[in-house]
Amino acid sequence: MKIQGQQTLPASRDRVWKALLDPEVLGRTLPGCDGLEAAGPDEYKMHMKLAIASVQGVFDGRVKIEDQNPPESYKLSVEGRGKVGFVKGGGAFRLEPAGDSETLVHYEGDVSVGGLIAGVGQRLLDMTSKMMIKRFFSAFSSELEKSA
C-alpha cells in the first residue's frame, strides 16, 4: 500500500526536524504508543495498543531512522507484529520551510500489511492508515504549539 501526502506544521524547519527525531516526542504523539525505547543508534523499540471499532490490536515493533540529512530529509523504516497481523514498511520525509514559522512536511512511503488483518480488513486498510497519519500529525502539531 502506497502512502503519500503532505502536512503543514506550525513551527520552523529546525524545530520540526528536532521534534520529528526526538524519541520522547514521537513516543507521546504516535497513536496508541506508550513510549519508545532505544535499541541501538537511531533505532527504537515500541509498543503500540490500537483500538479501532471493536478490534483491539497490540503491536510490538521497531523504528529505525536512516539517511539523515539535517534539516531536510530522512528515511524511516518501521516494522510491527501482533496477534492480528504485521506491518512492515518505510517512508521518506522531506521538510520544506514555509515562511519563518511554518514547515511543510512531504512524506512518501510503501507499507505492506499481512496476516489476519490484511486478509479480512482489506477494505479498511487505506482509511485506517489515513486516520493514523491524521491522528499523529494532529498530536504532533499540538506538541509543537505547546513547546513554542
Binding site: 471499532a53 471493536s54 482509511m127
Partner: protein, 286 residues
C-alpha cells in the same frame, strides 16, 4: 470459526444495560451483530462480555412526534424499509434501508448498530446527512443529542463515550414537495457501497429551494457535498445544472483507494451517481 469465550448478558431495560456496561468496561454492546459477530468469529474482537440489546423493548419503535420521526436504535433495516410511516413521511430513509447488504443482513442488522459501528461505506450516513438527522445517546450521566455530522468523527469512530448507548435516531417529517433519491454502486461480495449518494431536492417556481446531498463510501468519513449543494440553490432543476453541480460532488475530498476502486475512480463515481440521484429526485418534485 469460533469466537473466544465471553460472558453474555441480555438486559430487558435500558437502565439495566447501562449498569452492565458501567460495571464491566471490557463489554461490547451487541445490536444486530452484522458487523460485530464476524469480528468475533475471526477473533479480531474479543470482548469479555456481550450485552445483547435484542430484548430491550424500549429500543424497538418507529414513532411520529410532531415534525420528527423517532426510530428506536434496535429497529432493523427491514423494518425501516417496509415501514408505511417512513415510506410516506421520510422516504429517503426507507429507500436507503432497502439498499443495505442482502435480505439476511436487513433482517438482523439495526440502524443503531450500523450508526454506532460507523463504517465509512455504510449506506445510512448518506441519507442521515442529507436529512440532518440527530442521534440520541443515553449514558450514566443522562441523555444527550448530537447531529449526525458531529456524531460521526472518523472512520469507525464516533462521539459515543465509553458506557454510552444510542437509544434512537431522529429524522424530520419530509414535506410532500421534496423529491428524494438514494443511489449506490456496491462492491458485490460485501454489499458495501463503493459510492452511495442520498439526495433531497425541492423547487418552487422553477427554482431549486433546497438541495441536500450526502455521500458515503468515498472518503474516510461520509460527508455533505456542500459545494454541489450551493451550486444548485436558486437554479432551475435542469439536467445541465445537475451535471454542473454534480461535478463538484467530490471536489477537495481526499478519496479512499483500495483493491476494489482507486481514489480517482471513486471520485468519478461520486460525480456520476450524484448526477443520477439529482435527476431521480427531480422526478419526485411536486
Amino acid at each position: 470459526m469460533i469466537p473466544s469465550s465471553f460472558d453474555y448478558a441480555a438486559p430487558e431495560t435500558i437502565s439495566e444495560a447501562l449498569k452492565l456496561l458501567a460495571a464491566n468496561p471490557d463489554s461490547k454492546v451487541l445490536a444486530g451483530g452484522q458487523s460485530l459477530i464476524p469480528l468475533l468469529k475471526l477473533r479480531l474482537a474479543a470482548p469479555g462480555q456481550l450485552i445483547d440489546l435484542g430484548r430491550v423493548p424500549d429500543l424497538h419503535f418507529i414513532a411520529e412526534t410532531g415534525q420528527v420521526i423517532r426510530i428506536g436504535a434496535m429497529t432493523t433495516h427491514y423494518q425501516i424499509e417496509t415501514s408505511e410511516l417512513l415510506r410516506e413521511k421520510c422516504p429517503l430513509l426507507a429507500k436507503t434501508a432497502a439498499n443495505i447488504g442482502d435480505v439476511q443482513v436487513r433482517n438482523r442488522g439495526t440502524i443503531g448498530g450500523s450508526v454506532a459501528h460507523a463504517d465509512p461505506a455504510a449506506d445510512y450516513p448518506a441519507a442521515l446527512l442529507a436529512l440532518g438527522a440527530k442521534v440520541k445517546i443515553v449514558g450514566a450521566k443522562g441523555e444527550r443529542e448530537l447531529g449526525i455530522e458531529d456524531f460521526l468523527v472518523e472512520a469507525l469512530t464516533t462521539a459515543l463515550e465509553p458506557g454510552e448507548i444510542i437509544s434512537e435516531i431522529q429524522v424530520p417529517v419530509e414535506d410532500k414537495s421534496v423529491g428524494t433519491a438514494y443511489r449506490t454502486l456496491v462492491q458485490p461480495a460485501s454489499g458495501f457501497a463503493i459510492v452511495g449518494v442520498g439526495v433531497r431536492l425541492a423547487a418552487k417556481g422553477g427554482k431549486i429551494t433546497l438541495a441536500r446531498i450526502g455521500v458515503t463510501g468515498v472518503a474516510s468519513k461520509p460527508f455533505r457535498a456542500s459545494k454541489a449543494e450551493s451550486a444548485l440553490e436558486g437554479k432551475a432543476p435542469t439536467a445541465e445544472n445537475f451535471a454542473a453541480a454534480a461535478a463538484l460532488a467530490a471536489d477537495g475530498v481526499d478519496a479512499l483507494s483500495d483493491l476494489h476502486a482507486s481514489a480517482e475512480y471513486r471520485s468519478h463515481l461520486a460525480v456520476v451517481e450524484t448526477r443520477r440521484a439529482l435527476a431521480e429526485a427531480a422526478q419526485g418534485l411536486a
